[in-house]
């Protein structure tokens, strides 16, 4: 039954209008925070809410400079970079190994990794903290990085596994015939072909460690506090600090939006495997 083109066009227009309205309403919290961050506190909490005001970027400056968020940003970058630099290489190695094994041997291992990903993090946070205190490693970077690498592994392996599977095994065989050993095959032949996968895995791991909250809350202190921990302990309580914490929150969000524009084509692959929210 072919519908008449006029109805189709009208239906599409209605659909897009509905989508646009929903999307806008859905983003109101975000828009409101963005507006709050460029308001003076006098405009930020009023009845009725102020829509028209004189914008100021003073609070963005204050939160990063005066309130020390630059320091937390550096902590976040160190932790995230450390996590990515360890997680992606060892994850890729394991993923390559698994992708070249017989399916029947790889499947149980892959499912085992899935169960590891489902570990309640709180269960790990306690022994981490106790062991960290014994080893005197609380409030140091390596402890948090190790924890993040470990919880990140199942995802990285899964993602890279799906990319390695796309590379035909005939290439490995050809390389072997040409005299490459396993390591050379991986390093010279396969890895360069998996470069897009590596980028995606790195970006998703970056997001995961940048967003992580529980381990960062438990394992960091004044020196190594990351951005989510800083904004959580800062935000929301004192109404007079609203503009500043809104500025902090928006600032924390911006790099993620940029990364998202890079990974958007791979969102489906990354998310069905479970990126972003650990």
């Amino acid at each position: 039954m072919k519908r008449r083109p006029i109805t189709r066009v009208r239906n599409q227009a209605l659909l897009l209008a509905a989508l646009a309205i929903f999307t806008f309403v859905n983003l109101v919290p975000l828009i409101w925070a963005a507006l709050t961050s460029i308001k003076n506190p006098a405009d930020a909490f009023t009845v009725p809410p102020t829509i028209i005001f004189h914008p100021t970027f003073e609070y963005h400056r204050q939160v990063w400079v005066d309130r020390g968020f630059v320091h937390y940003l550096i902590n976040s970058l160190i932790v995230s970079a450390g996590t990515v630099l360890i997680s992606v290489p060892i994850g890729s190695l394991a993923a390559y190994g698994l992708s070249r094994m017989p399916q029947r041997r790889a499947s149980p291992i892959l499912f085992g990794l899935f169960t590891v990903r489902m570990f309640p993090h709180m269960l790990l946070a306690i022994p981490f903290f106790v062991m960290g205190s014994f080893l005197n490693m609380i409030d140091t970077y390596p402890l948090l990085v190790l924890a993040l690498v470990a919880i990140n592994q199942p995802f990285t392996i899964w993602l890279m596994y799906s990319f390695f599977l796309d590379i035909p095994r005939e290439l490995d065989e050809a390389a072997a015939i040409d005299g490459c050993n396993l390591w050379q095959t991986f390093r010279i032949v396969i890895l360069p072909l998996a470069r897009p996968g590596l980028t995606v895995a790195a970006l998703f791991s970056l997001l995961l460690s940048y967003n992580e909250f529980l381990f960062a809350l438990v394992l960091t202190g004044i020196k190594t506090k990351t951005l989510p921990v800083a904004i959580a302990s800062f935000g929301g309580e004192d109404v007079s600090d609203w503009s500043i914490s809104a500025a902090g929150a928006i600032g924390i969000m911006l790099p993620i939006v940029v990364i998202m524009l890079f990974v958007q084509r791979h969102l489906v692959r990354g998310l069905t495997i479970g990126a972003v929210k650990g």
Binding site: A94, F114, F119, Q153, W158, M260, K277
Partner: protein, 288 residues
């Protein structure tokens, strides 16, 4: 084949690290759970399974389990309803799909703590956007985060705000795989839109739906950020999930042994969920 020998060596760094950083602490938690031990104190008493017995006899634990289930099912229901409608809308739209996808996806991809703060600033009494708007029209609003029932609803909505995009995307991806020829055939046979959705599209999505539901159920036992920031488990213990209770035990009351026991109880529950859904999960994950 010869070139496959030694392949297992590639797994060593990753799995070595995981057993060091995941399994060792897990074993240590199991060990701790058998002791009466306070963080920072030197006194340790072996108590066997007393921590478990004590926990299972506690109304607070059962209350937190109940809260976890209510929040889990509440948010999963909202997420699927909204997620399906959105996925279907995107599936039916002929253009600007990608723009909407990115915009709709924002709440999921931003830092959960930040996303929750955004919501908190909307919900805060008096000065939040909702209250300020309602007060303008002289409607006196309920105390969203201070009332036990509203607080639960807010937590469910917050979780839904963050996770509906995820469900939407998974369903959208699954919709792409629905057999178009089947839909066309049904249309020729005179089926209307609703019957096509009901009898062709939904049945072919069932594996994905079960997969996503079980993952989301387990997530509720893992996640912590949203409730911690939004209500901290309050008012009272109205929104205290098992995870929040474990945190309170371990890091506020410093009863590390008891907290470890509760952690292990959580693990057993999650393991039971995995075992129940294992066939579907295995297939769901097999898609890569």
């Amino acid at each position: 084949m010869r070139w496959q020998r030694g392949l297992w060596l590639f797994l060593v760094p990753s799995f070595g690290l995981m057993s060091l950083v995941l399994l060792w602490p897990l074993g240590y938690a199991a060990y701790l759970s058998l002791f009466d031990i306070y963080l920072g104190s030197r006194e340790i008493h072996f108590v066997g399974l007393a921590n478990y017995v004590q926990l299972l006899g506690e109304p607070r634990l059962w209350h937190s389990l109940w809260t976890t289930l209510v929040i889990a099912f509440g948010s999963v229901a909202v997420e699927f309803l909204l997620g399906f409608v959105l996925a279907f809308a995107l599936y039916s739209a002929t253009f600007s799909v990608r723009v909407f996808m990115i915009l709709l996806f924002l709440p999921h991809i931003i830092t959960p703590v930040v996303a929750t703060l955004f919501l908190k600033w909307i919900l805060t009494s008096n000065w939040g956007l909702i209250d300020a708007t309602l007060l303008t029209f002289n409607v006196s609003p309920p105390d969203w985060l201070g009332d036990p029932i509203w607080a639960k609803i807010c937590v469910v909505l917050a979780d839904s705000w963050i996770f509906t995009p995820f469900v939407m995307l998974v369903l959208y991806a699954a919709l792409q795989t629905v057999d178009l020829a089947q839909i066309e055939a049904a249309r020729i046979d005179g089926a209307n839109g609703w019957r096509i959705i009901r009898h062709i599209i939904i049945p072919s999505l069932v594996p994905v739906i079960i997969f996503t539901v079980s993952v989301r159920l387990m997530d509720v036992f893992r996640f912590f950020d949203t409730i911690y920031v939004l209500t901290g488990g309050g008012p009272g213990t109205a929104t205290e999930t098992v995870t929040i209770y474990t945190y309170q035990l371990g890091f506020q009351l410093l009863q590390v042994g008891k907290a470890s026991a509760l952690g292990l109880i959580t693990l057993i529950i999650v393991a039971a969920i995995i075992a129940t859904f294992s066939r579907v999960l295995q297939r769901g994950y097999g898609r890569g």
